[in-house]
Structures are given as structure tokens and as C-alpha cells.
């Protein structure tokens, strides 16, 4: 039976992506992702914990940086917009499903 985790530590994240801790601190400073234990602010970065959804965005941010050579400010903006888009798409699917319960023929055409 494998252990299931919902988080990843700062150290582990450094290993996963093979990137410097500084880069991760940078990513956090730009607000691309937020450690789940950050708010207390007393926490040193070595103790940061990220949720497993954050890893997905960290990887995407690194990929965008590498593939498109855009800087952190731009990446932060792009990631934020992508996250908002994802949330809207999810909302959309819910509304559509709900609507179809009342109009089974679904979308107009």
C-alpha cells in the first residue's frame, strides 16, 4: 500500500525539479505559488510546505520560462490568468450540467 501525500517540502521540491532553492524562493516571492504554511511568516523557507496542486503550477512556470524565455513578472501574470481561466471553466461545466437537467437537449444549435 503506497502512502498518499498532499504536500511536498521545500527540499523535496528542489530535488524534483533539479532547481536551486533560490529559484523557488523567487517563484514564491512573485506569488506564483504560496506555501501552505506561509501565512505565519515566521516560517523559514526551509520549512515551507507546498500542496501538490502548487507543484503543478511550479512546473508549468519553469516550463514557460524555459520554453518561452519570459521573465518572472510575466510568468506570474500568465500563471495567475491560467488559474483564473481554469476556475471559470470548472464553474462553466457545473452550470452546463445543471442546465441540462432542466433542458435535456442542452446547447442550442
Amino acid at each position: 500500500m503506497s502512502e498518499t501525500l498532499f504536500s511536498i517540502s521545500f527540499d523535496e521540491l528542489c530535488q524534483v525539479e533539479g532547481i536551486e532553492g533560490e529559484l523557488i524562493i523567487e517563484i514564491v516571492e512573485y506569488g506564483i505559488v504560496m506555501p501552505i504554511n506561509k501565512p505565519s511568516d515566521q516560517i523559514r523557507y526551509e520549512q515551507w510546505l507546498f500542496d501538490t496542486g502548487a507543484i503543478h503550477w511550479v512546473k508549468k512556470a519553469l516550463r514557460l520560462r524555459q520554453d518561452l524565455e519570459i521573465d518572472w513578472v510575466a510568468i506570474a501574470m500568465v500563471i495567475k490568468l491560467m488559474q483564473q481561466k481554469e476556475a471559470l471553466q470548472k464553474e462553466n461545466r457545473l452550470y452546463q450540467r445543471q442546465l441540462r437537467r432542466f433542458i435535456p437537449s442542452g446547447d442550442l444549435d
Binding site: 500500500m1 503506497s2 498518499t4 533539479g18 520554453d67 518561452l68 524565455e69
Partner: protein, 317 residues
């Protein structure tokens, strides 16, 4: 094998300088990057562009390519490297971005495994660490399964080894799915990804939770919604009905003179996590029989005569 003219792919002249090449690459890359363009074919196009840039941004690779290009441009559609061309054996693909390092046969035939580690700074995983790659798979889960901790057997394909000779293989893994997982969450299974190389640790396996759309229940946050079809007489007279929830049936009292769209709240019958329990909302939907009996038609007519009701009152105001 087709000859790839990397200059044409980037839409630049063969004498373009480094800056022009970079600009051309970025212009094309942001259009076709899989994170930006979900269209079919976009990813293939991006890989082509990335490969062209990978070669042309590197002085040495570019020089070698230029040499080959003069030779290759004569036999465009059935390209073979010239006799004596020293293509090192293909050492396979290596980590970093999920796109770089995934080169065409053409690339491999002329450069082999060389030049595959020219990633941007900070990404050069393959050289600094031999930790195995992470793997992410989608895990469909039924809504009912989220109510309590459950066990699942996860099946996935472990990709071929980056370095050695193992083929892709099917893996089975027993996994404990915690109570209250939500659609879109990711579960991490430490060390269950690709094995490491030369003593490196294994990567992780991520399970991306996809809650399967339920035939009866919709999810909104921690609440669930069920539509309750009622016959018109049930709505008019009220009734007691047995209503499914995620864990067994409950009895629900429908008050007389219920209306389509009325919403009843059933406390505590929503989704459950360790810290909170959502509610179930039952939404009334008045539903007509598919066919009406002769007797029924008569009764409908009598109702029409007896009841004083204008369903379209809002239209006249």
C-alpha cells in the same frame, strides 16, 4: 527521412544573427506552446520550432547543420547523412522540460545524443541529479468514493528508462485514497515515479483526481444538488418520496403546492471531509407523463376549467 530546414521552420534567413533567431523562435513558440494552444497539431508544431531553435542557437550545432544543409538540400525528401558523418549513438532522451529533449529522427541521426543538455540555467537535471522523473496520471473517482477513505488499484504505464534498455511496462499499485478528495486535487505517491539513475531517488507518482460526473448529483463546493422530478399531482398535493443520497435513501416530504425550481435543503448529506460536511439540495422539477390516457385528458380538461391560473402572468405586466 525528410531533411528539416531549421531556418525555414523559424522563418529566418540562413544568415540571421542570434538575436533574430531568438525573436523568431519566441514569436512562434508562444503561439504553439501546449500550455497556450490546445489545438491538435500545436504541440507537434511547437516541438519542431523548439528543435530548430535548439540547433540554431548553439554555435557549434548550427555550424554542423549549415554544413549538412548544403548537402541535404539536394536530397530533400530522402535525406541520409553523408557517408562518414559521425553521428554518435543516440543516448536517448533526457529530463528537463517536457518538450526539450524530445527530438526528431532527423535530429537524432545527425546530432545523436549530443547537444541535448542545452537547457536554460537551472534546469539541467540530467547532469546534476539522477532522480527519476515524476509521472502524473488521471484518476477517475466516483463521488460516492470520496465519502470515506477508500482503496484503489491504480494502473499506469511506466515509461521506458531514459538511459538503459527497459521497455515501457504496465504497473499496478494499491493506493489509499483519503476521505474528502475533491475534483482537480492531486495526490502524491512518493517514490512511485520513474526510478532514479546511478543511485538517485525515484520520482513521484501524481494522481490527478477526476470526479466522474454523477448521473443524479451535481457538485457545488461541498454541497451536492439533486433534481427531483415530480408529477404535477405530487407537486399539487404534496407527497413523501424516497430520495437517493450518496449513502443510501432518505425520506423527503414534499409540501403541497410545490413549484418547479423550489429548493429543499437536506442537512449533512453533501460531501464529507475530515473537517466539514456539506448539504444536499433537492430541486423540484415538475415533469409530465409521456402519454395521457383518455380518462386523463378529461380530468386535465376539468382542471383547466376549475383552476384559476395564468402561468404567463409575468408576460402581461
Amino acid at each position: 527521412m525528410e531533411f528539416k530546414d531549421y531556418y525555414k521552420i523559424l522563418c529566418v534567413e540562413p544568415d540571421a544573427n542570434a538575436k533574430t533567431i531568438k525573436t523568431a523562435y519566441r514569436k512562434l513558440a508562444h503561439k504553439y506552446h501546449p500550455d497556450m494552444n490546445p489545438d491538435e497539431g500545436a504541440e507537434a508544431k511547437f516541438k519542431e520550432v523548439a528543435e530548430a531553435y535548439h540547433v540554431l542557437k548553439n554555435e557549434q550545432l548550427r555550424a554542423e547543420f549549415d554544413e549538412l544543409r548544403q548537402y541535404g538540400s539536394q536530397s530533400r525528401h530522402d535525406f541520409q547523412p553523408p557517408p562518414g558523418w559521425k553521428a554518435p549513438p543516440n543516448t536517448g532522451q533526457q529530463g528537463g522540460s517536457q518538450f526539450h529533449g524530445d527530438f526528431s529522427d532527423f535530429f537524432n541521426s545527425i546530432f545523436g545524443g549530443r547537444g541535448q543538455s542545452h537547457h536554460a540555467q537551472g534546469f539541467d537535471q540530467a547532469q546534476r541529479s539522477a532522480r527519476g522523473q515524476d509521472i502524473e496520471i488521471e484518476l477517475p473517482i466516483f463521488l460516492e468514493e470520496t465519502l470515506k477513505e477508500s482503496q484503489k488499484t491504480v494502473e499506469f504505464v511506466m515509461p521506458a528508462d531514459d538511459y538503459a534498455q527497459t521497455a515501457p511496462s504496465k504497473k499496478h499499485l494499491k493506493v489509499k485514497i483519503p476521505q474528502g478528495v475533491m475534483d482537480g486535487e492531486r495526490i502524491r505517491l512518493k517514490g512511485q515515479g520513474k526510478p532514479g539513475h546511478q543511485g538517485g531517488t525515484a520520482g513521484d507518482l501524481y494522481l490527478h483526481i477526476r470526479v466522474v460526473p454523477h448521473p443524479l448529483f451535481d457538485v457545488q463546493g461541498h454541497n451536492i444538488i439533486i433534481t427531483i422530478p415530480l408529477s404535477p399531482w405530487e407537486a399539487a398535493l404534496g407527497t413523501k418520496i424516497s430520495v437517493p443520497t450518496l449513502d443510501g435513501k432518505i425520506h423527503l416530504t414534499i409540501p403541497p403546492d410545490s413549484q418547479s425550481g423550489d429548493k429543499l435543503r437536506v442537512k449533512g448529506k453533501g460531501l464529507k471531509t475530515k473537517t466539514l460536511i456539506g448539504d444536499m439540495f433537492a430541486v423540484v422539477k415538475v415533469t409530465m407523463p409521456e402519454k395521457t390516457s383518455e380518462k386523463g385528458k378529461q380530468l386535465w380538461q376539468e382542471l383547466a376549467n376549475s383552476e384559476d391560473f395564468d402561468p404567463r402572468l409575468e408576460w402581461s405586466t
